[in-house]
Subunit: 397 residues, 2 copies
């Protein structure tokens, strides 16, 4: 196990009707003038924004608002938000929505107290301060409610880049599983895929002797395999929603990932897909992740056997470990398909002829991307090609 720091000072406020307590938690965490940041109409139509406003009003907290965050949130709205916050003297950003809204809120929080361009922090600069952020979560997916991560897309050139720092962790996150019950099945499944990907990006590591984090990763994956089909079949299943929502936080606040090298190449490769085609992140991951697994599995066959046996219940064939490893990957792809996810470029709406463009935008050049297996441009093209042509052929179930 490697040395690490783990600092997750977010207060999680979980359960039914907790959004009514928003004002109390803004107050507790020092906010006096709030920007309510949200996405499209659903948070308004559902009445959630009104509940939040009433709660802020009851706590005598002033607010202004900025809606319109889209999936794969854009820098253009972040600039608007920064300007608005400065004009209005905002000292607390309240994200009401899913990962995109929270990521956009974190970007605004970074930009307000900074003299330069907030994009600097998405180009490698380490932030030193940020306004505090609180969240009222409406989608279990990105884990942004408990993470120090934020990903923004630059409109000009569709560059998708991330910032990561503990100062970006929300001060509080209100998580009411009932708020996710109105999500369409497709969005629910995209979120579930994202959650599983956050775990797999940590699970595939070259660091040895990390049993506790391996087991924690597997705990989240096993939960997702049990609960996701239940919410797809019955969107109103509060308890299944609740298990997924807490799993989504655990998957990405890094308690499963400390002390080990992580990968993140599937996320990297997916970001180019969602930037180019504006597809949902989870759907892109469903196509990329099993393809990445197929391409890299012989880097450490026994680790894939561990996944296959512990997570997907495969039998271990000791005379032919590779068959067990590949069976695990097939079951993962089959699971994704069963919850309605695309599994190849055609189903996603991507084009094989764009592969050179996707590879180029990753900017690897003559170099490599670090991770479980180091990838050069040719490797990346190989993964995209597997993703382009993937099928369920040869699946056991």
């Amino acid at each position: 196990m490697d040395n690490f720091n783990f600092y997750s000072p977010t207060e999680f406020v979980f359960g039914r009707d907790r959004a009514e307590e928003t004002g109390r938690y803004v107050n507790k965490h020092g906010g006096t003038k709030v920007l309510i940041h949200y996405g499209g109409g659903s948070a308004v139509k559902s009445g959630l924004i009104d509940i939040v406003k009433k709660s802020l009003g009851d706590a005598d907290i002033a607010y202004c608002e900025l809606g319109g965050v889209k999936p794969n949130p854009r820098d253009t709205l972040v600039y608007k938000g920064i300007e608005l916050c400065r004009k209005e003297g905002v000292d607390f950003i309240l994200a009401v929505g899913g990962g995109s809204v929270i990521d956009s809120s974190k970007a605004i929080a970074l930009g307000v107290p900074y003299d330069g361009d907030f994009w600097d922090f998405y180009s490698g600069k380490t932030p030193e301060k940020a306004l505090p952020v609180g969240t009222v979560l409406t989608i279990a997916a990105a884990g942004s409610e408990g993470s120090g991560n934020s990903i923004i897309t630059k409109e000009d050139g569709l560059l998708k880049r991330g910032a990561r720092n503990d100062i970006l962790r929300p001060r509080f996150s209100i998580m009411d599983p009932a708020l996710t019950q109105t999500l369409p099945a497709y969005q629910t499944a995209c979120g579930a895929t994202d959650i599983m990907a956050h775990v797999f990006e940590r699970y595939f590591t070259n660091t040895r002797e990390v049993e506790i984090t391996d087991r924690l990763c597997e705990a989240v994956l096993l939960t997702m395999i049990k609960e996701t089909p239940r919410v797809i079949a019955d969107p109103d299943n509060y308890d299944a929603r609740a298990n997924i929502m807490w799993a989504g936080m655990v998957a990405h606040n890094n308690i499963c990932g400390v002390g080990r090298q992580q990968d993140w190449n599937s996320h990297g490769l997916e970001h180019e897909l969602s930037a180019l085609y504006d597809v949902t992140h989870g759907a892109g991951l469903a196509v990329i992740m099993p393809a990445w697994m197929e391409y890299v599995h012989d880097h450490n066959v026994l680790r894939f056997c561990q996944m296959a046996t512990r997570v997907f219940g495969c039998r271990m064939y000791f005379e032919d470990p590779e068959s067990t490893a590949l069976e695990g990957i097939r079951r993962f792809r089959s699971f994704l398909h069963s919850i309605g996810m695309p599994i190849n470029f055609e189903e996603l709406g991507a084009k094989e002829e764009d592969i050179p463009k996707l590879v180029e935008k990753l900017g690897i050049g003559e170099g490599t991307r670090a991770g479980f297996m180091e990838l050069n441009a040719e490797d990346v093209a190989g993964i995209y090609r597997i993703a382009a042509h993937a099928s369920l052929q040869g699946m056991e179930e």
Copy 2:
């Protein structure tokens, strides 16, 4: 799943040689005048206290010190600590040691800013403020480095009582697994037993639909079953120590226990044993926990089958679930015995004729103790009697 709040704002600083950074973290978390609180001679002899003092000195942080904390820490030393802190103007308590030292530190932290008797908070009063506490952990066991819990024994009458509040969570905890390598095998095994008990007290619940926390609990238990025999066989196994140390934190910061009714009757029954005989908490738990399981298993046989199959790898006998449930309990007791733990009163040094006294000190009277199964005085006596006579007879392995 029940509604819950989860707030664990401790900064964990994990890995080799991290104690050298103590001063930096005291500084970061606002301490200017520190009480170094520790136990017997081992922290001094090992040179750890010197490393901590040097680090504080390098960071220009003044300190005073108070050693002498014993297992099952006493109120008498807490009073001394409170007096010393007031006299010296201490604003930060630094615990260097295991759970007893940390618990004693938390008690001092509660007492210093309080006008009344600190024992009030161990008699049900809710604390409103406490000095900040930091820890340098030397034993993986109590989980106090990441919890808001503290347990103190009142010298007069040997009453063992707890306080619990998020304000008692340490600001930072330095966790160097190498510091635990000098622990004798018996203490290591006691610590491992305590860690497993913290999980089981959460695992056995009447709350339904808690798959994510069930799986997280199982992740910790599976890790302990793998790693504990390895450190007993090879005390210098850093990686196994590291997995146990992080598991010990995860077991008790409550991330495994949120949203569900918990039990804690095994801890309650054990506290009377360690108060009366001054035995190590983990050893007492090794005797009580499987006895409690035997007594209550038919309250929910299938939950015990889940433990037996998922944690102890038992086969499920669908025609006779109880046999699977009991086999799981037998395997647990067998595991405890294999790591050198006592499994009955004789091995622990307790006496069957004291059972009425133990029951009386629990103070149930005509009432009951809440939990997985509600227990009256007769039930408790029944559990103690099983514990008194337990053996490995009938064990499969």
